[in-house]
């Protein structure tokens, strides 16, 4: 009976055009579609406008060095700060450097010359990394540009400390390799959830209320578990490889356990949710708009530490929250299951809670048994 329900579920997915589109086609489509949005990778060069109000040897030397900077693209030389501001408004994620009048005189007098760097806060996320890079480089090259002029004063104090920064795990630091490993598991979660609830709602619509024998429910759950695992294998195995994202850092055994927990919790949640819908299109209508909020709640792009504690706790009711942490941890950071105990427990509890809910909703109801999945 489990086997029959298992096969019947696959038949249902294959014969329902919309469900097939959702569960199979869109999963593949999204795997190429979304990474293309992030293919811009790190914004290493941002356009910079330089306003030189000093027009001295030291300032000209600084402008030349800015032009040669790896992080900056000397895009304009506006005559005034006002013109530079106008340039920044139309450019978007750019930066303005202003060398004030008296820059060289200050240095020669043994005082400090000042350079102002302005970034565009309307594009904060895009420009903040590039800006801190330019700021650091500016400090260095401005010091070099000034040192010729300042030699007469004796060598300036050397910095006592310097900070060397090294990325861990995601060493490519691209937008894609940071965001998509999370988005990928969200796609798997959403397509499974909407596909399964849509099929269940279609049955409910045509058959009215029905009861599922426990074994039939297990067969259906197993079928979706297999589909979910195929998704995980396709994303973690093929898509991450094809896009050359950091991957497979953890042990295969841990990945199998982690993937099973994520898919298990997703299927259990989908089954629990599926018992609530009566109209075929309803799950699509109501659930489609949730993806963006669910992604942020997962805590990959906005940390749980900066989220109100009660909301971060509620977010743990979603399989994606623990699932994305766990899969990024195992696959990209090379963590062990023991290091990810919190996520493992979280998913295990969700499987029990949602699984129990689905079992209670589908098998304990007083309604006729579901006919099409029963033996002839």
């Amino acid at each position: 009976m489990i086997g029959r329900a298992f096969l019947a579920t696959f038949r249902a997915v294959l014969s329902d055009r919309s469900a097939f589109m959702l569960i199979v086609v869109s999963t593949i489509l999204y795997s190429f579609f979304y990474p293309s949005a992030y293919s811009g990778e790190v914004a290493v060069r941002i356009p910079v406008a330089v306003v030189d109000l000093d027009d001295s040897g030291a300032s000209r030397s600084l402008v030349r060095r800015i032009a040669a900077l790896q992080q900056a693209d000397l895009a304009a030389r506006p005559a005034s700060p006002g013109a530079a501001r106008l340039w920044l408004e139309t450019t978007g994620a750019g930066a303005v450097v202003i060398i004030p009048e008296g820059f060289e005189r200050h240095i020669l007098n043994g005082a400090q010359g000042t350079v102002a760097l302005y970034g565009n806060g309307a594009y904060l996320l895009r420009s903040s990394t590039a800006l801190s890079g330019i700021g650091l480089a500016l400090t260095t090259i401005a010091g070099e540009a000034a040192s010729d002029q300042a030699m007469a004063q004796g060598a300036p104090a050397r910095p006592a400390l310097s900070l060397v920064q090294r990325p861990l795990f995601n060493t490519r630091e691209g937008y894609g390799s940071t965001v998509f490993p999370g988005v990928g598991f969200l796609i798997i979660h959403q397509t499974l959830l909407m596909g399964l609830t849509m099929l269940a709602a279609t049955l409910r619509e045509t058959l009215g209320r029905f009861r599922l024998p426990s074994r039939t429910l297990i067969g259906i759950a197993l079928a979706f578990f297999v589909i979910g695992w195929a998704d995980v294998a396709y994303y973690a195995g093929f898509v991450f490889w094809f896009q050359d994202y950091p991957r497979a850092a953890g042990s295969p055994g841990a990945l199998i356990v982690g993937g099973s927990l994520f898919v298990g919790a997703t299927v259990a949640a989908a089954l629990a949710l599926a018992s609530l819908f009566r109209t075929r299109e309803r799950p699509l209508q109501l659930w489609m708009g949730t993806s963006l909020a669910i992604f942020f709640l997962a805590g990959l792009s906005w940390p749980a530490e900066a989220t109100p504690a009660w909301l971060a706790l509620l977010a743990r009711l979603l399989p994606t929250t623990a699932g994305i942490h766990l899969m990024v941890g195992l696959n990209q950071m090379g963590a062990s299951l023991a290091e990810q105990t919190r996520e493992v427990l979280n998913l295990a509890i969700l499987i029990l809670v949602y699984g129990g809910l689905a079992w209670w909703r589908f098998t304990k109801i007083s309604a006729p048994d579901l006919q099409p999945l029963k033996p002839d």
Partner: protein, 387 residues
């Protein structure tokens, strides 16, 4: 014509009143999603992000540095593991975002008057908090170095010879001086949620008449009246979602204190144009598929990914040609630029007029292609009831 418009709008609102879940899609569901995002990002800046410190040196310079790291509001020294292996274990357990390694001999290097290196290993898999940690640690180390340099030079050459670095760089963020992610993210995520829910609602409303085979009776009149009736059906949704747009804007601009630097009228005009653009695209997709289910799936693909392709968060200019083309085909991309211009930068009204006109173009092209097919479907019962 006006009669057909008004009757159709009345018919739709009556339907909404009677259908709990269709009503939910335009009432408490938008409110819930807007609220979740608003609450989650309300901190704006990240504080107390956990880091761990490995102190191989153990000298006074290192101790002072650790004290300063602990005092920094953006950081929290969560543990002091004895070696890097333990420290990396803590990062892999998501207990810390970064490791500050103070190497052996730091004290001696600094005392010799040379530059001592502090190493910072950060979890690049979590780039937003790690970027914040990076900036905070950088600031602390720089400040500590400045204090040390003063002391060292004074000790070696006498206080009279102490000279500051010849050049200092002052960084400022324009148009968002507090560098708040709340303003940047919420101002974009809210309309991203709203335009998607709006398009789902309109596609559902149009598709439902086909699914239920009621389009024939509903659009029984001549062609012109039928077009007016379609407009009347969409009008209540535009009105409802304009109210959500106004609420979202008011929340951020008034309640949270991120005032609109440019024109509020232009921003709300932008919302209207955004909804009209997606109404046009909804007509296009329903007209093309003549099926509610398929139209909803295509809506997910078209309007569900706007945030990623808008170019405000990720640099779409340097992405692939396909991504740039797709980005240009999304009305939300235009709207995101309008938000930056009118909310944050305070650009002149004329600067954003082009974006509004571009949004109207989506309405004209989308409804021009989709409306005739949709209206014609009222005469062809054979396409009704497709699921």
């Amino acid at each position: 014509m006006i009669r057909a418009f008004v009757d159709s709008a009345r018919r739709e609102t009556a339907f909404l009143r009677g259908s709990v879940w269709d009503l939910a899609l335009v009432t408490w569901l938008p409110l819930l999603l807007l609220a979740i995002v608003a609450v989650q990002l309300s901190a704006g800046v990240m504080r107390n992000l956990p880091i761990v410190v490995v102190d191989e040196d153990g000298g006074g310079v290192a101790c002072d540095l650790i004290r300063k790291l602990e005092a920094s509001p953006g950081l929290k020294v969560a543990a002091r593991p004895p070696d890097m292996a333990q420290a990396e274990h803590l990062v892999r357990s998501n207990a810390a975002y970064a490791v500050v390694l103070i190497p052996r001999d730091l004290e001696r290097t600094v005392l010799r008057g040379e530059t001592g290196k502090i190493l910072l290993f950060y979890n690049a898999s979590y780039s937003t908090p790690s970027g914040s940690v990076l900036r905070e640690v950088g600031t602390v180390v720089q400040a500590h170095a400045k204090a040390l340099a003063g002391e060292q030079s004074a000790a070696i050459a006498g206080p009279a010879r102490v000279r500051p670095q010849p050049v200092s760089v002052q960084s400022r963020i324009l148009y968002n001086p507090q560098a708040s992610y709340e303003l940047q993210l919420v101002a974009l995520i809210h309309p991203a949620l709203l335009h998607l829910l709006f398009m789902i609602a309109v596609v559902s409303a149009l598709g439902r008449e086909l699914r239920d085979g009621t389009i024939g009776a509903w659009l029984a009149g001549p062609r012109g009246e039928a077009v007016a009736a379609v407009a009347g059906k969409i009008a209540p949704y535009i009105l409802i979602f304009l109210l959500w747009g106004a609420l979202a804007t008011g929340y951020l601009a008034v309640y949270r204190g991120w005032p609109v630097q440019g024109s509020v009228a232009m921003l709300m005009g932008g919302y209207l144009a955004l909804y009209l653009a997606y109404a046009g695209m909804a007509l296009f997709i329903v007209g093309a598929t003549l099926s509610m289910g398929q139209a909803l799936s295509m809506t997910a693909l078209y309007a569900g990914a706007s945030f990623a392709f808008a170019g405000a968060i990720f640099p779409i200019e340097s992405a692939s040609a396909f991504a740039r083309l797709w980005s240009a085909l999304l009305p939300f991309t235009r709207f995101a630029r309008l938000v930056a211009e009118q909310w944050m930068i305070g650009a002149p009204v004329l600067a954003s007029l082009g974006s509004i006109l571009a949004l109207f173009a989506f309405l004209v092209v989308g409804s021009g292609a989709g409306l005739p097919r949709y209206v014609s479907a009222r005469m062809s019962p054979e396409v009704w009831g497709r699921r």
